[in-house]
Amino acid sequence: MSELDVDPELVVDLLTRFLRSEAGKFGFSKMVLGLSGGIDSAVAAALAARAFEPQDVLAVLMPYRTSSPDSERDAEAVVEALGLRSKRVDISALVDGYLDQEQVTDRLRRGNVMARARMIVLYDLSAENGSLVLGTSNKTELLLGYSTQFGDSASALNPLGDLYKHQIYQLARYLDLPANVLDKAPSADLFEGQSDEAELGFSYADADRILVRLVDQRVSPEQLVAEGFDEELVRKLIRRIVGNQYKRVPPIIAKLSERTINQDFRYLRSWGH
């Protein structure tokens, strides 16, 4: 048993309560999410399907013309297994309209445009059917900044943001998700054959073990190295955490008045609810 292990039954109970309560207080009982065929969105979808009626969860499959067909097949298996409502929106025209016009060839820029195009689709559909956009970013990815700002990181409610990748796998097994979703290598799927772990240069398993000590337990980097963790990896993770802080906070406002939003104008989103 790893120190990252959670009690999946307890976590699923809490997260379904979280979704019902935080959506319900604003009058929402429906969710919309992008279903990629990967594990994070599958777990988020399963939680929403438990919190609400499965038919009140709209899973949107948003392939681009270079996306892997396997991803779509895996996403369909999740839709089937959970009994979700689903919709397929091919984002190729939306994305290419801009990429072709601006002659964008850089892979990172292209990937970010796709992620943001999906965000546009989800927010539009949420307005169409009176639902909230469900977030699927986990804690590992948020800390590492392995996401597109205002793209896949955009959502109204995120049930996964305080769970490491290891814990997402635990939930996926508990929630009995299709085997393919559990077994395949994590991928942002912005181009065929993309692999999170190959791009990052380390495995989620190694990262999680260090992140939980650094972030949750506030152990110093020196202590981690003394415990035998790879020094280069520890430094790399810290660089990523610090370097991507900008993705985890709202834009910086120049403070001019006597009272500035989010500085000394402090209210929860639950204000009055």
Binding site: M1, D7, E9, L10, D13, E22, D264, R266, Y267, W271
Partner: protein
């Protein structure tokens, strides 16, 4: 003195953040039911009239003790004694995290949270002034000592109530749930709370009445688990879970006598030893805030 035979009801509620009318309504409905059920004392959680993470709302929702808003509770306390949490604005403009005890149509006592919590996710000291006293309440239904959440993480209040001969210590809480690792089937914060309640009950030979709230505020869960522990450290009734609910407990002199005759810790306590030892450490001059080390 008539022997105590008091029916207490803990009411574990969710609140609407900063919406006092909605929260008062929740209180009045629970009170109406409790009166029908013959309850003597009804207890609501910390900041039950306001919600917890108020931030800049703290001062905006603060009430003076003579506020007409509290009149419905004062009025109903002619038929039932009521403990409710709110933000108190004192005459000098300070605001406190307060618990009011309503009885016989008036506010018999206000406990101002002494140990404000300002670490981790909490920032109470930014918005609130700390209370300075632990005063036992002599109610017609018993002698009660009040603690507001973090007050139960320090030993002073409970110890003083023990010296005063409290029948029951009532802990009103807005306690968030944290910690889901391990295979325990419960939040680790709830496990810790239980240990605290059990320990105080055993050390101080009183009922521990723990009334926590439930619900979510911006992703923070309030973890319920309201429960009653007897003066001999036994759990009474079924502790509440994460849903709103009520828990009743009958407090009797017989149970108290039994616990205190069997294990006479109060008889054997010699508080002057503590007083002397404290004096040796901090001197006889009373230290002000921040001076004591």
């Amino acid at each position: 003195m008539t022997p105590m035979d008091t029916l207490v009801r803990l009411v574990q509620i969710d609140t609407t953040l900063g919406n006092l009318d909605a929260n008062l309504d929740t209180h009045l409905r629970a009170i109406e039911q409790a009166v029908t059920d013959g309850v003597d004392v009804i207890v609501f959680p910390e900041l039950s009239l306001t919600g917890y993470f108020l931030k800049d709302q703290t001062a905006e929702v603060a009430l003076s003790l003579d506020s007409p808003f509290l009149e419905p509770l004062r009025e109903r306390s002619r038929s039932i004694s009521i403990v409710a949490g709110f933000v108190e604005r004192s005459r000098d403009g300070r605001v406190y995290n307060a618990l009011a005890f309503f009885e016989e149509g008036e506010i018999l006592h206000v406990h101002r949270k002494v140990h404000l919590v300002t670490y981790g996710m909490f920032e109470e000291s930014r918005d609130l002034a700390p209370g300075e006293e632990f005063c036992l309440v002599e109610s017609k239904h018993g002698r009660f000592g009040f603690l507001a959440c973090e007050d139960a993480w320090h030993i002073d209040g409970a110890y003083l109530y023990f010296l005063d001969g409290a029948d029951a210590i009532i802990v009103c809480s807005a306690g968030p749930g944290r910690g889901v690792t391990g295979k325990t089937g419960e939040l680790s914060s709830n496990r810790v709370w239980r240990t605290l309640q059990d320990s105080f009950s055993l050390l101080f030979r009183t009922w521990m009445l723990y009334c926590n709230r439930v619900g979510w505020e911006d992703g923070v869960v309030f973890s319920g688990a309201s429960r009653v522990v007897s003066p001999t450290g036994e759990e009474l009734g079924e502790p509440l879970g994460l849903d709103p609910g009520t828990l009743d407990a009958r407090l009797t002199s017989a149970a108290l006598d039994h616990a205190r005759i069997q294990t006479p810790l109060r008889r054997d306590e010699r508080p002057w030893i503590l007083a002397r030892e404290l004096a040796r450490r901090v001197g006889f001059e009373l230290p002000g805030e921040g001076e004591a080390s």
